[in-house]
């Protein structure tokens, strides 16, 4: 077979390959995007029981006033409702851990009790503080049901700091950052309750 014919074969193959990939990519793009959205929302929302709400919380973002808190910053919030009634507020909180930013998703019910806490992003030491990134997480589970007033402000600390919570073994700074961020979020919820629940002025 001569040279030009074989070059033509390769060029033809390249054209067919590129166009096939392009067509497939174009036709699948919307479906892939919707799958991605579904996956993302499932990943975020397993912080609270699915039976609790019937809306799409991620499509109801909240605008948060004064998001800079004592130990952390709130980077976003969502409202979960059930037949129009707000049942929970999700707050995204960023604080400084031991090795970098620690981002938590904190779910608080309408009475100000914690529904769940999930780590969205962490750069803590693998094997020590990195444990906070695992899900489900027994240590973060210990906070469920707590609220701003129960325990008291002094109780919202590690046992090492005369509080009432255990720490992650070998990761005092990470544990402290997480507790402070959760406490901050609960305090923020208490102070802005009406606005967050959408019942106030």
């Amino acid at each position: 077979m001569n040279r030009s014919a074989s070059v033509a074969t390769v060029v033809l193959l390249a054209l067919v390959g590129v166009s096939a990939t392009y067509v497939l990519q174009r036709s699948s793009a919307p479906q892939i995007a919707s799958e991605q959205r579904l996956l993302d929302s499932r990943k975020l929302l397993d912080v609270m029981p699915a039976a609790l709400y019937d809306n799409q919380p991620l499509e109801q973002p909240l605008t948060l006033a004064e998001p800079a808190l004592r130990h952390s910053t709130l980077s976003g919030g969502y409202r979960a409702t059930r037949s129009g009634q707000t049942v929970a507020v999700l707050l995204r909180s960023r604080s400084e851990g031991y090795a970098g930013t620690l981002e938590l998703l904190i779910a608080i019910d309408a009475n100000g009790k914690l529904l769940g806490v999930k780590t969205l992003e962490q750069r803590e030491t693998p094997g020590l503080g990195g444990y906070i990134g695992e899900w489900p997480n027994a240590w973060l589970q210990a906070f469920v049901g707590k609220s701003r007033t129960e325990p008291t402000d002094a109780g919202w600390a590690l046992k090492k700091d005369q509080g009432q919570f255990d720490q992650i073994a070998g990761a005092t700074i990470t544990s402290r950052a997480a507790i402070d961020a959760i406490h901050d979020a609960l305090r923020y919820f208490d102070e802005h309750r009406a606005l967050l629940l959408g019942t106030g002025p």
Binding site: M1, A5, S6, V7, T9, V10, L13, A14, V16, G17, V18, A20, T21, L24, Q25, S28, Q31, I32, E35, Q36, L39
Partner: protein
């Protein structure tokens, strides 16, 4: 030649088999892409030689792998996200196998080799899931949570170094087995 191919096949064997379902996915994808690649390459191999044949195999491998990746994204997104790296590597497998002439072997021989490798992948995946997570078949179907054997597993096995250790143990077991079966009589020296 054998060495390069074997080393390259070690990558999906260790990296992409944390659970049985992941191993099944990558095995199916590898066999589908390699099969289509072999079929498409056979007419091209006769027409092209040297660099142009290599170029054609490169284009073909890239096309097939991209299409397989898009299909996986469309229907199996959670699995695709964990195995993305190894899906991309399938193109390299195609080109290296083609370069070393693995597809020129008789069909029966290639088929047997692929089946053996696939079985090994599934065994490693299954064992890693049982030891590492204490379950089997998690994530295979949305309605079936998988067979839970014990609540917590050995975390090391879920990581790639753990897979390497497991493969070593499997090889040792195989060697012990073949040695026992082959009759070796010790000769006593005076």
């Amino acid at each position: 030649m054998k060495r390069t191919v074997n080393l390259l096949m070690l990558v999906p064997l260790l990296g992409a088999t944390p659970t049985f379902s992941a191993a099944l996915g990558i095995t199916l994808m590898l066999s589908a892409v390699l099969g289509v690649f072999a079929v498409c390459m056979s007419p091209l191999r006769e027409r092209l030689t040297g660099t142009r044949a290599l170029l054609a195999s490169l284009i073909l491998a890239a096309t097939l792998t991209s299409c397989a990746d898009i299909v996986a994204q469309r229907w199996f997104l959670p699995w695709q996200q964990t195995s993305e790296l190894y899906i991309g590597l399938i193109a390299l497998h195609c080109v290296v196998l083609e370069y070393h002439g693995a597809f020129r072997d008789p069909v029966a021989v290639s088929f047997k080799r692929c089946a053996m490798f696939g079985a090994l992948m599934l065994v490693v995946g299954g064992l890693r899931e049982i030891i590492g997570y204490g379950s089997l078949g998690r994530g295979l179907s949305e309605h079936w949570p998988g067979l839970v054997l014990f609540p917590e597993g050995l975390r090391l096995i879920t990581l790639v170094p753990g897979a390497f250790v497991l493969l070593g143990l499997l090889l040792a077991a195989r060697q012990a087995w073949t040695r026992r079966n082959s009759v070796i009589k010790e000769t006593h020296r005076p």
